[in-house]
Symmetry: C2
Subunit: 345 residues, 2 copies
């Protein structure tokens, strides 16, 4: 089969790799119909995080069950499924607590030895626990929206929950990438009345407005902190979602948080510990919580809203490419010519 591989910074290839195959009786093989490129894949693309040369990549996918292991009874060939961005056993105490990303047997697509989401097929361990089946009669047109359940919509939701977004509340979202935009949508769903998005790109902030942002601001961190605080008469926001992962974005997030407020952080941290100003957290009682989103825990809750059309994050995909165009897809996202590329197979 063919799959996307990464050989070094800016070296994305599509290669022939061994076919995805059942190894354990709890496995299934999913034929991928929709995958996408994540902002976090770009850290590997840029060489900020290392990958083994030739390692698979991609962790968001949706497809059709093609083969099932001997112990799999709740999934059948032909089922349409969406995969959260890590697999989990569904039986340990952490899965039971809804923290599937800390599962005792967690693993992620594209890690050495595992298939990546950007490829023709994926072997899925702990398949019954990991995959979520979509309705048999699902409208094909909804599949891009449903693909976001794999990561970005759930991650945005996690950020909003971690930030303590509540009905009638005010929230600032730092970052206009796909996760930031999904956090806007999640905050609106949770009933936030005022949602301010801080971004860099006018076309993305326009999308944020479609998704529920009541105000948008553009600009680099330091100056915008004062501007955002002014919006709240100096008070700051009680809920802030950090959806980038850089030192600057975290500093901005803490800077615009009200005393006693909470930063829900979901941007994969890059840039080190100096992002967290512990003295400011202490003297202003600013909490920082969040992290990698247990998407598997959220898919059942968010799925009905995507199916009903109440949530439609599909517009985050501003490019649709074939598998062979993966390298261009990465280059375009890296150069910010596109927000997020969907790969159709």
């Amino acid at each position: 089969m063919r799959a996307v591989t990464i050989h070094g910074p800016k070296d994305i290839r599509v290669e022939h790799v061994p076919d995805a195959a059942i190894r354990e009786p709890g496995d299934v093989v999913v034929r991928v119909t929709h995958a996408c490129i994540c902002g976090s894949d770009l850290w590997a693309y840029r060489g900020v995080v290392e990958r083994q040369p030739g390692q698979r990549i991609g962790h968001e996918f949706l497809g059709v069950v093609e083969e099932v292991g001997a112990e799999v009874s709740r999934l059948r060939r032909g089922d349409r499924v969406v995969a959260p961005f890590v697999w989990s056993d569904g039986t340990c105490e952490r899965c039971a607590a809804g923290l599937h990303t800390s599962c005792r047997q967690v693993g992620s697509w594209g890690q050495p030895g595992a298939d990546g989401g950007q490829g023709e097929a994926v072997r899925v361990p702990f398949a019954e626990a990991t995959l979520v089946r979509l309705p048999a009669d699902v409208d094909e047109a909804q599949l891009p929206a449903l693909l976001t359940l794999s990561d970005v919509l759930c991650t945005g939701h996690h950020g909003a929950l971690a930030a303590g977004v509540a009905p009638g509340g005010s929230v600032a979202v730092v970052g206009d990438g796909a996760v930031g935009l999904c956090a806007v949508m999640a905050a609106a769903r949770l009933g936030a009345e005022r949602i301010v998005l801080l971004g860099h790109h006018r076309d993305r902030t326009r999308l944020a407005e479609r998704f529920g942002a009541t105000e948008v601001r553009l600009g680099p961190g330091a100056e915008v902190v004062a501007e955002l605080r002014e919006l709240t008469r100096g008070e700051g926001f009680h809920s802030v979602v950090e959806a980038v992962g850089t030192v600057e974005s975290m500093r901005t997030a803490i800077g615009v948080t009200a005393d006693g407020g909470t930063v829900g952080f979901v941007g994969v941290p890059h840039g080190g510990e100096q992002a967290l100003d512990i003295r400011q957290m202490f003297y202003r009682n600013v909490a920082v919580r969040g992290g990698i989103a247990p998407a598997r825990a959220y898919i059942p809750e968010l799925l009905p809203d995507v199916l009903s059309g109440a949530l439609d994050p599909a517009p985050i995909f501003d490019a649709t490419i074939g598998l062979d165009e993966a390298a261009d897809g990465y280059a375009d996202m890296d150069a910010r010519r596109t927000l997020k590329a969907m790969i159709r197979l």
Copy 2:
């Protein structure tokens, strides 16, 4: 009047200073009967944080109202009162939200231009909002316990609340200073079933057991992290109170926190931002919240339990000295010969 002043590292003096006096119509003057030395005063004593030469010091006190300003009607000469460790106006939105430490007009005892708690008398701004009156018939023997409402008991309570301590829960407390010991007591009051204190001094951990710790462990951070995790079959604690403020103690606190758990931090941070391992926070969903405790918000809740004897933190005072012995009191605490010194006036 006489008051304690600090002139530089390890240079504590008792000097004649201008009498505390009414300046604003909302002020009162409190004649101090009980004060104490705080672990956080030692940061100034050690020269880690700077003070102006001759600056006052001390922020915990209890006493008797001696003089009232023209606009003060709810406090009278002769009232016995306890002061939280900062003053606050009681009218701004932050005070209304219970975050008095972020009051728009906040200030702290001993700041330049203000009387310190370690002195014969203190001018108290916003006196009606700041001070809490004790019952007229309060037993003198209870005054040491009531003095802890000024800071350490409320700070321990804040840490336990921030860590999300709940009935039946498990909590680890990092630090066997007065705040850590009070956090143990507060956690027990909140219904925690398992309370593990991590300390350095056997005599202090014995006190922790009196205060409600179910287990104690001694030792430096790195080794003890593994030991504490073993106590929970590797899981870690869902609630952890950080009650020291050093890089090592925060690392220990995060290290013993379960995935998805929360560090409630109340140790005044010293040592910089590298204390917060953002990658560990991210990949394990460990939250960090807390900060400077809004003691004024907690005194009304904790006061009845101190008066009833349900909470008796008085044993944290293992030395009682006169004002003239302040320098020795600091030296003894600095050398860990005493846990916490009470100053009787």
